[in-house]
Symmetry: C2
Subunit: 395 residues, 2 copies
Amino acid sequence: MELNRNFQRLAPSYLFSGVGRKVAAFAEKHPDVELTRLGIGDVTLPLASPVVQALHRAADEMARPETFRGYGPEQGYPFARRAVRDQYARRGVLVEEEEIFLSDGAKSDLGGWMDLFGPDNVARVPDPGYPVYGDISLMAGHPVRFVQGTRENGFLPGPDGQDGDIIYLCSPGNPTGAVYTRAQLTAWVEYALERGAVILFDAAYEAFIRDDTLPRSIFEIEGARRCAVEIGSLSKSAGFTGLRFGYTVVPRQLECRGVRLRDLWLRRQSTKYNGVPYPVQRAAQAALSDAGRAACMQAVAYYRANAQTLRRALKGTGVFCCGGENSPYVWMQCPGGMDSWQFFDYLLERARIVGTPGAGFGPGGEGYFRLTGFGDKEATCAAAQRLRDAVLAAG
Amino acid sequence: MELNRNFQRLAPSYLFSGVGRKVAAFAEKHPDVELTRLGIGDVTLPLASPVVQALHRAADEMARPETFRGYGPEQGYPFARRAVRDQYARRGVLVEEEEIFLSDGAKSDLGGWMDLFGPDNVARVPDPGYPVYGDISLMAGHPVRFVQGTRENGFLPGPDGQDGDIIYLCSPGNPTGAVYTRAQLTAWVEYALERGAVILFDAAYEAFIRDDTLPRSIFEIEGARRCAVEIGSLSKSAGFTGLRFGYTVVPRQLECRGVRLRDLWLRRQSTKYNGVPYPVQRAAQAALSDAGRAACMQAVAYYRANAQTLRRALKGTGVFCCGGENSPYVWMQCPGGMDSWQFFDYLLERARIVGTPGAGFGPGGEGYFRLTGFGDKEATCAAAQRLRDAVLAAG
């Protein structure tokens, strides 16, 4: 037995365990001090009422022989796939039911796509970026080259002339909150079409975009149906991090050397996956209904307003920041020349705020810091003032 | 971009679509004839009441800010892992909480294990057997060699002296319903320990075992903790095919060249998976509680009794059959020298019974046929008599 040696290429991730350890040590030293947790990347508001009602109805259906459901269709129930399709249609993006594959979330889908590609393909991974992109590529044996986000390009790097076969794009970005413009995404689509590359477009945060000129789907870009796959999720848009619902859209036109990737993905999913729980598919349908969307968008607006509060607090302090306008994330430069972990300690000690060191998102994140809007409104407002004071004192 | 060429090694599976097409054609020709579907591999009884109540309670928890749950622990909530651990303990098998990884089912877990092994490992796949074992191995690039089930070995093949690195074992077996004895599993464990092979033990049907002398877990066998992983599921034991809950037990002692497979699996799962929905984990906890098990075992007994009815109907007809005693499946030789599809047509036309052609489970299944106990009791009893008549007429 030979193990997959590519696991040796993975660096252990100490990001959140490191944060946890430091927070625990602080709490022990200062048992009476209340911390504001702005490092959290998880939703905190409860599920919307239409979603909860759908869960109850589905549970009752599963209790009666006439309405019980066992194995469902491999791609997902038509009612749920149609709900995703209609969500796209409302924004003028036409995707077909057969192009939509439901899943338990973006991590599973991204990971699953590694099965479709030969190991020699070069993966282009945003740095800073969601660590999963690099890790799944390394596990599968791909050479990994960073696409460098910088202050100069607003953490929205474009094609850099280097080779690439698998292109990860995330917009609005995690951790940066930066959103690609139509022109910037067009450049990536043209690059992919020219090279025969495949874009894996992570749209997990699209619901946070309120600027109508910004694209919410890669399929708003001409030619994307021939080079891109889009991965979506209800985790952040409808609070489904504990319910698990995502989807991948694989356009019919997406081919590599005459092979339709939709057919390969269907083969992969029907062999290695058994579908989303029936109650969760009903919950997703409810979240995407008119009443559900209205309720969910209130939560999205709440989180975004928190992020805007943090962003405003940094105004005039002289530190660079991005995100927070069309995203739950604010990405800031650490003041006073501090590195990510130094600023983590500083902010914890001085402002009683827990954030996330940017270095945890790749080498390009060193010297930066992520704050999120997923906390409580009043606590975030109070923390924003302490953040501003701390940044000014450090500058 | 180069695609994974191993997909070309996969044979398209026409088994269930072929069955569906033939049944539809029959129904069109004979609109008034009622068919009995004994081909189905899915549960039909509704969820047990404690499970439904748990789903309702979890939905209510998700509706309130104080009790809402977002991302859960990567391996699963302690309450659910402990429920699995306690289920093992009741049978005298000691597994630790940290050795249990919850998932959405056996297909995902089996598929995920392919990530851990280098491509040159030889996969030993039971023939006839669950087609997923071969497909996931081929996709990952492994050489695949069958382990041959035959009438002579009662469809319980042992080690055959050939090489093997990844050993798939399923007991009670699908499609054969045959159950390995302690001595037979011991031979496999000794083989694996000697060769440094890893056994992937699929225990999806263990709840159907009523003969106390038969092992329900590979970990009842001495030495298995050093060479085996066990994959379990509530799909058939608690009717969770539409709810999705499974688990993999990776013993601490399982190592390859000094690397603990538990650690690799944790890395794989935390990178490519986000956990089981919270309500489903609560449902699983309920299914594994005293009240839940009592209710679920009634359904298991119902399905098994159906299988026994079918098995009894074949008694004295002269055709070989196995399974049906400790399994929901009955595996029978086709009478009169018919091949699998000929017998399918014959049984459909003559007895109005839909079964599953054995050839769909691998070349070794040709000339055999699978019937299942997942149908309605009265319909199964009536069909059993028609089955017997048809077999006698064909012999």
